[in-house]
């Protein structure tokens, strides 16, 4: 038996009849066609499917679509406004915070919540704040730098500037 679910996703209202077992991530991807939210595991370890639910970071594989009834969701597709990248998106680009790009939407969404809660995080707080997300390409070095850079542009008062990793270059 299908259930009705009404949500607001990236500012647009949606209403669908869905199976009760449908995971929120599959609703976003398969019903709404928002394929920017990725699936990287089946045990809620990787965080590739992280979105914001009423402003809070949630792994969208840990919720059923029907549990999103009446909620406001933000996915990676909803981050850029009026053709301008969100400061986090810009920072990931500027700081080479991604390589294959598969985990990136989840990291950006998790980082968005992190900076919302703590606009001026230390490096340690960033690392702990992102421990729900896995990346296999970057070794996290430039992801941390990206979040630091975004914190700075978003106005964190004492955010540390992103420093170049390489102290020495050339022979």
């Amino acid at each position: 038996m299908k259930h009705k679910v009404a949500t607001t996703v990236n500012g647009s209202k949606h209403e669908h009849e869905v199976e009760p077992r449908l995971l929120l991530v599959h609703y976003l991807r398969d019903v709404l066609g928002l394929t920017g939210t990725h699936i990287g595991c089946d045990t809620s370890q990787c965080g590739a499917c992280t979105i914001l639910v009423d402003g809070k970071a949630v792994k969208s594989c840990t919720m059923f679509a029907v549990q999103a009834e009446g909620r406001s969701l933000t996915t990676i597709e909803g981050m850029a406004k009026d053709g301008e990248l969100h400061p986090l998106q810009q920072a990931f680009w500027d700081e080479h915070g991604l390589q294959c790009g598969y985990c990136t939407p989840g990291f950006i969404m998790a980082a968005a919540y992190l900076l919302d809660q703590n606009p001026n995080p230390t490096e340690d707080e960033i690392r702990r704040g992102l421990e729900g997300n896995l990346c296999r390409c970057t070794g996290y070095v430039n992801i941390v730098k990206s979040v630091q850079a975004a914190a700075k542009t978003m106005g964190g008062a004492h955010a540390k500037p992103a420093e170049s990793q390489s102290a020495v270059r050339g022979s």
């Binding site: 045990t43 990676i76 390589q99 294959c100 598969y102 992102l130 990346c135 296999r136 102290a167 050339g170």
Partner: protein, 790 residues
């Protein structure tokens, strides 16, 4: 020639806007009209006979179109998954891997049936209704037991479990005669999951009217998939279009081979007359995608008391899994590089491939080279400990210093400055201060350790003269460069990018070589319908040194033709025409220059020189004269808590040399990720099977520790530049370097920290549990000795 403005610059990646905004196009984002979803029914047993398969219930389940088993596939697939001809010349036993099991399964996860349904959930539900009657058989899990006479065999009726047994260079008791000290050790290389963040996936669409197949697949090697999968499924290459991705979420070697699901999806599409999609779940990925490493090394090192290395003896045992990996034997290269960056009088090396009832092993980031580094860098430290010499001095004393350097197996290291990277790393680490700090802390009962890894690697695979006999395929690379009539540039290359940033770095090379604006260049890869007939793919840190060079060749061919046409238009002798920053002019008259775009426009029109055809485009295949040989020096500093066995990584310094650099930002990114994958092997990751039942005990990501941002220390990077003489760009490769280097640095640091306990060697992963036990044993041993002396 164009001046260099883009090469060497930190250009931000053109790949990123789509990826940071959620508009990447990964395999699971692909959908086709009337598409069916495929679920693969897999063996829960490591080894069993299949008595019967009953799919009647599954076929009746909601939304199900079909259930196919071996009986449905057997007449549509010829042969099986390819296994590279040689690498190891003396193959003993290469079991044929048909893409789906017939009457015997030889690893947990081997496909036995596929279900097609309207929705993925329906296919998964119906898969549970497929009744397979298995007769479990003895599982062969341990490679040493597998080698014993009378061991059960991995495949019923097989002669034994030996895949290969090859001695590259025999043992020489003579060689060890000069040695004043001899050290022996067994060094384990645990099995690892590659874990690309995107698992694999396939969409196969066979058009029965046009007899044409389009295959989207998450792969590093679209052209090889077309060649092998297409041919086995009865299709000529002209009938098959393979598209990698278009975006592929990481590979690390786990996507460099044709996979059984590609064959199964193609035939399922043919049989059902529907596009068929299969997406690998993560737990499925852990049994269905190849694993890495899984090796044992027995080593014996002979040296003089003054630190001169004399002889090395290496025996490598590789856990092959149920079938030999497509490129599994490449890992035997560990033997050929076991001498590392050092001079040896003699190296004896033997490799033995052993079949087991597990998922196949195949190359995983570094493939054979991390193993070589790990064993030789451990060997150096063991000798240093034995003779009481600083491991830095021992390394310096034995470094190869004259280049080209021919190693004991005839491989020629193209260029190097091993002392240079070591000096820089020692300086960045404040090595002498660290040693003093170590001494002081030991007095307080704290255990600081300093580990070195002065690594080398072979990459830029590879010259046809070496790779054709070794791999059965010449690993050259192709490209095509087209200048359109209005001056835009389209570039096609046979390598594949799945995080390596080729669209950016290759465009940098094109911009400089043609002297055209970077933004006028479109890069294309991964679609076999475009560009040259064959591409060779991405692995072995080859894309730049081979693919980048091929692009450069095509650019130069285009410039060459354009120059002839420019001479004609400028009414000058070709020898008097100068090409400078994208413009042609007659010597002495730079003001009357013609831009490449203008020449391109003219090339498609009338009035060309006698005998010149229209058009401005070129195809090239680059066959390198040698491999390339990056190198570097890594220093890891750890503190080990003897009460808990916990390792606190305090510092990680990496000084690497990959020759000339196209984009330093990209090189640093590759190093970061690579180093962390090696650290992960050293400290965290291990695939564990149950030896009795053959069940995978690390079957989900909850059981396998992929490090998070929280486990990883700050990395300090630096570099030196020693250009490669093997190619005109002077480049080497950096994709695997970090992983090749880092496990040895970490383990050497831990062994150094635990030296006061008399601990000489630690295996990986150096988990708190393993270290705590080893420290306890060492303490009991020393208490026992003290007791005995009383």
């Amino acid at each position: 020639m164009a001046v260099t403005t883009m090469i060497g610059a930190r250009i931000h990646r053109r790949e990123d806007p789509r990826l940071v905004s959620g508009h990447g196009r990964f395999i699971d984002d692909m959908t086709r009209p009337h598409m069916a979803f495929m679920t693969v029914v897999r063996s829960p047993y490591a080894h069993a006979k299949i008595r019967s398969i009953d799919a009647s219930e599954a076929k009746k389940a909601p939304g199900v179109h079909a259930v196919y088993t071996y009986a449905d596939f057997k007449d549509h697939i010829t042969g099986g998954v390819p296994v590279t001809a040689a690498f190891v010349a003396e193959k003993k036993y290469v079991p044929n891997q048909f893409p789906i099991a017939h009457d015997e399964v030889v690893y947990q996860g081997e496909p036995v049936a596929v279900v097609l349904a309207n929705e993925s959930g329906q296919a998964a539900d119906a898969a549970l209704l497929v009744k397979v009657d298995y007769e479990p058989l003895a599982a062969v899990m341990d490679i040493e037991k597998a080698m014993e006479k009378g061991s059960p065999t991995v495949h019923l009726g097989a002669p034994d479990n030996i895949g290969w047994d090859l001695t590259y260079s025999p043992d020489s008791p003579e060689a060890f005669k000069e040695a004043e000290v001899v050290v022996k050790e067994r060094i384990l290389q645990q099995r690892l999951f590659p874990i690309a963040m995107e698992g694999r996936g396939v969409v196969a669409e066979y058009d029965g009217y046009d007899k044409h197949l389009t295959l989207w697949t998450s792969t590093q090697i679209p052209h090889f998939v077309r060649l092998f999968v297409g041919t086995a499924c009865g299709l000529a290459e002209s009938q098959v279009r393979v598209i990698a991705g278009p975006d592929v979420g990481g590979g690390f070697g786990s996507k460099i081979r044709p996979y059984v699901e590609e064959y199964l999806a193609v035939i399922a599409s043919k049989l059902s007359s529907r596009p068929v999609k299969w997406i690998e779940g993560r737990s499925e990925n852990l049994v269905a995608t190849t694993h890495g490493r899984g090796q044992i090394f027995d080593i014996e090192v002979g040296a003089k008391k003054d630190g001169t290395l004399v002889a090395l003896k290496v025996t490598q045992y590789i856990d092959l899994g149920g079938y030999q990996g497509v490129f599994g034997a490449f890992q035997a290269v560990a033997c050929l590089l076991s001498g590392g960056a050092y001079r040896w009088k003699h190296i004896a090396a033997r490799t033995v491939g052993v079949l087991t009832n597990k998922t196949s092993t195949d190359p995983y980031r570094g493939a054979g080279r991390p193993e070589a580094t790990h064993l030789v860098e451990r060997a150096i430290d063991l000798v240093a400990r034995e003779i009481g010499m600083d491991p830095v001095e021992l390394r310096r004393k034995n470094f190869a210093t004259e280049f080209p350097f021919t190693n004991n197996f005839g491989l020629v290291y193209d260029s190097g400055n091993y002392g240079g990277t070591l000096d820089k790393a020692l300086e960045l680490a404040n090595y002498k201060d660290l040693r003093r700090e170590q001494e002081a802390l030991r007095k307080q009962g704290r255990y600081l350790g300093i580990g070195l890894s002065t690594w080398i690697e072979i990459c830029g695979l590879g010259p046809s003269a070496a790779t054709a006999p070794a791999a059965g395929v010449a690993l050259v690379e192709s490209s095509q460069v087209r200048i359109h009539p209005t001056g835009g540039v389209s570039v096609y290359v046979g390598t594949h990018s799945h995080g390596q940033s080729h669209d950016t770095t290759f465009a940098q090379i094109v911009a400089d070589t043609l002297g055209v604006p970077y933004d006028s260049i479109e890069m294309h890869h991964g679609d076999t319908a475009e560009g040259p007939a064959m591409g060779y793919g991405t692995y072995g840190s080859r894309s730049l040194a081979v693919g980048g060079m091929s692009i450069r060749m095509s650019c130069l061919k285009v410039v060459d033709k354009a120059k002839k046409l420019a001479a004609h238009i400028l009414e000058a002798d070709e020898a008097d025409v100068v090409f400078d920053q994208g413009r042609f002019h007659v010597k002495g008259s730079p003001e009357k220059a013609k831009a490449l775009g203008e020449i391109a426009f003219a090339s498609y029109g009338a009035g060309l020189p006698e005998g010149m055809e229209q058009g401005l485009e070129a195809v090239s295949y680059f066959d390198p004269p040698n491999f390339t040989w990056p190198f570097g020096a890594h220093i890891c500093v750890v503190e080990v808590d003897p009460e808990t066995g916990a390792v606190d990584m305090r510092k990680y310094i990496a000084v690497d040399d990959c020759g000339n650099v196209i984009n330093p930002m990209v090189v640093e990114g590759q190093l970061h990720g690579g180093i962390v994958q090696g650290i992960a092997q050293a400290l965290f990751e291990e695939v564990v099977y149950d030896d009795e039942s053959g069940q995978l005990r690390t079957g989900t990501l909850t059981d396998y520790l992929v490090p998070t941002a929280n486990e990883i220390p700050e990395l300090v990077l630096a570099s030196t530049v020693t250009p490669s003489p093997s190619n005109a760009l002077g480049v080497k490769g950096i994709g695997e370097a970090g992983t090749i280097a880092s496990s040895a640095a970490v383990i050497n640091a831990i062994c150094d920290a635990l030296a006061p306990f008399g601990i000489k060697h630690v295996d990986m992963p150096a988990s708190p549990d393993r270290l705590w036990k080893q420290i306890q044993q060492a303490r009991e041993h020393s208490n026992g000795e003290r007791g005995a002396r009383k």
